[in-house]
């Protein structure tokens, strides 16, 4: 009895895999992931385990490390939120409207990526310092950007925006107008249609973009350190900076301990986002 039910289960599982290539693609995926990413990462993270547990706890809970975690996580969450809002708007405008300059706008999206992060950081810190173009204007209304938390967020928005736009754009292109059409016919206004019909369809892609922008921000070093001011007192040190401080004195144990904790935190957050994303797409697929 139990045997047959197990067999049945196996059968249904097999049936779920009518599409060929499971073993091959999964094998390559895991092999490449292990060789290029996981094994090298493991080789460095073993340094964290060379520490005694008490020294480990002491390192990762010391005051400046705690603040750095808080700063990195909160700044990259805020930046990812900003990017999500503007990313949806940008993707929407680029897919749905025709207007003068559209293709130029479309082409500009990836440009922040090709600027080395250090150049981006130097340029942004200059523009937003109280002597720079934006900084002067914002200074009039009493807002300081360079060398504050705002500066960190600005840098993270700059480096994260392409992820959101490019994650949403293809999905939006695929989304044909018939649901929206139907929604209008049923008398819904645009706002309702967007929030009740379009946004749920976009949510998986939006979550992907949000997750990527967030993850990118959390590990960022080059663009942030020039604009953040790195003050332990103002808590504008990010995690990557603290890791670098440790590395400069060849304190591999502390550096990798902090990196390990950061890795675990971002892994859990990304896992959460991924699971939610899959739920979302499953739901919308079932509806479809």
């Amino acid at each position: 009895m139990s045997k047959s039910s197990a067999e049945q289960k196996k059968q249904t599982k097999k049936q779920g895999r009518v599409i060929p290539g499971f073993g091959l693609t999964l094998g390559i995926t895991i092999a490449m992931l292990s060789l290029l990413i996981l094994i090298p990462l493991a080789s460095i993270l073993v340094y964290a385990f060379k520490m005694s547990p008490s020294a480990f706890i002491e390192t990762i809970t010391s005051e400046n490390v705690r603040w750095a975690f808080l700063t990195s996580i909160s700044a990259s969450l805020i930046a990812a939120l900003i990017n999500s809002v503007f990313g949806v708007i940008l993707a929407w405008v680029l897919v749905r409207y025709d207007f003068f300059g559209k293709r130029i706008l479309d082409g500009l999206i990836e440009l922040p990526f090709c600027i080395p992060t250090a150049v981006a950081g130097i340029t942004l810190s200059k523009l937003y310092s109280d002597k720079g173009m934006f900084g002067k204007a914002l200074g009039v209304i009493g807002i300081k950007v360079s060398y504050t938390h705002l500066g960190i967020i600005v840098a993270m928005v700059f480096i994260g925006i392409p992820f959101v736009v490019r994650a949403i754009q293809p999905v939006l292109e695929k989304l044909d107008g018939q649901y929206e059409e139907a929604s209008y016919i049923l008398g819904a206004d645009r706002k309702t249609t967007f929030f009740r019909v379009v946004l749920p369809e976009l949510r998986p892609a939006l979550l992907t973009g949000f997750g990527l922008s967030f993850a990118r921000g959390i590990g960022e070093y080059g663009s942030v350190i020039y604009i953040s001011g790195n003050s332990a007192k103002e808590h504008t040190q990010v995690v990557s900076y603290v890791i670098m401080q440790k590395l400069n004195y060849m304190d591999y144990e502390s550096a990798t301990s902090i990196a390990l904790v950061m890795l675990v935190i971002s892994f859990l957050m990304l896992l959460f986002i991924n699971i939610v994303q899959v739920r979302q797409s499953r739901r919308t697929n079932d509806v479809a």
Partner: protein
């Protein structure tokens, strides 16, 4: 069923092999390129010799000029051509890269402590500090103030820096080895002023670092913040950096030399393990020896560093304020002691900075 399972396992294995071959192929084809270029230049004893000098950030111009002079000198002496490959970066990071395997024949770093770290990793033989004259430091520098033209806040000495409203730019000593000199110079001033009363000294230092508005990760970053972004009233800078900035912008800045500062002694050493492997011991020794020659000392002075040869230093008396009272790292009991006391986690720097 069975057959299918076998099939899928074979497929998995095949996939692993494909991916593995791919990774190996990739690294191999990449390294073929690297190996080729290395093979050309790495030949020791041939017509053309190559060596690598791993140094820190502000010495780029100095070694560009010195390498040229040395190549000429060495060819005249031995008939062999030399190419010196330079590597620059933050002093601590550079030392770390040597420990991790960067192929340096010699290191010329900002402070003895960084070279000690390489020694502890087993790459440099003990006793390197006395291998070359004057504690293996062929040039020195000191910490000065760079202020904006006119010096509106009237900053003359260290105790002016703790006044309310003075904005100081200096790099983070926990991130940049060079920045430790800045801290120690100020500490020494306070030490003399308060007759060694540690509570008062700490109070003074807390005020001083409380006035720091932007703390960059390295000396170059601080210079950029001060010069390009216009932040702060005073930059605590290496004398050679300050001289170079003044050369670029003579009408915008002034150098103020405080009454007391620290004798910053950048150190040089042969990286024995690499030099033995590359067969460059002799070349490396000749390279570092020649730094003490009259010609090299002149180049050093011209590039804003203080020549360790006192006679030649006097020729540059218009460039350097030779009256400044300089303490040395030995006043702090050497680098290891200074590092332990001030810069490890929870040590004095953390204490005064969080005040």
């Amino acid at each position: 069923m069975m057959k299918k399972n076998v099939q899928s396992i074979t497929k998995k294995v095949a996939a692993l092999i494909v991916a593995g071959a791919l990774a190996v192929g990739l690294t191999a084809c990449g390294s073929a390129g690297a190996g080729g270029s290395d093979g050309q230049s790495g030949q020791a004893g041939g017509e053309e010799l190559t060596m690598t000098n791993v140094s820190y950030d502000p010495t780029r111009e100095l070694y560009a000029a010195y390498n040229e002079a040395f190549a000429k000198h060495y060819e005249a002496e031995t008939g062999k051509k030399v190419t010196v490959v330079q590597s620059h970066g933050g002093s601590g990071g550079q030392a770390r890269s040597v420990v991790e395997g960067a192929d340096a024949d010699v290191v010329t770093l900002a402070l003895e402590h960084d070279i000690t770290l390489i020694e502890e990793a087993g790459l440099i033989k003990e006793g390197w500090l006395s291998e070359f004259p004057l504690d293996s430091s062929p040039y020195t520098s000191t910490i000065v103030f760079l202020v904006r033209k006119g010096n509106e806040k009237g900053l003359k000495d260290w105790d002016d820096l703790v006044n309310d409203g003075v904005a100081i730019i200096t790099p983070d000593p926990k991130s940049s080895g060079g920045a430790m000199w800045n801290f120690l110079a100020a500490w020494h001033f306070a030490d003399l002023k308060f007759g060694g009363d540690e509570a008062q000294i700490k109070d003074f230092m807390a005020k001083l670092y409380g006035n720091v508005t932007v703390m960059d990760s390295g000396a170059r970053g601080s210079t950029t913040t001060f010069v390009e972004n216009g932040q702060g009233d005073v930059l605590l800078a290496w004398e050679n950096e300050a001289i170079n900035t003044l050369k670029e912008y003579p009408d915008e800045y002034e150098i103020v030399t405080p009454s007391i500062s620290i004798l910053a002694q950048p150190s040089v050493a042969i990286v024995d393990e690499n030099a033995d492997k590359n067969g460059t011991q002799e070349l490396a020794k000749a390279y570092l020896d020649y730094l003490y020659s009259d010609e090299a000392q002149k180049i050093i002075g011209e590039n804003g560093y203080r020549p360790s040869n006192q006679e030649i230093l006097k020729n540059f008396s218009d460039k350097f304020d030779l009256n400044v009272n300089l303490c040395t790292i030995n006043d702090f009991g050497g680098w290891n002691a200074a590092y332990e006391k001030f810069f490890t986690d929870g040590a004095i720097f953390d204490e005064i900075y969080s005040k």
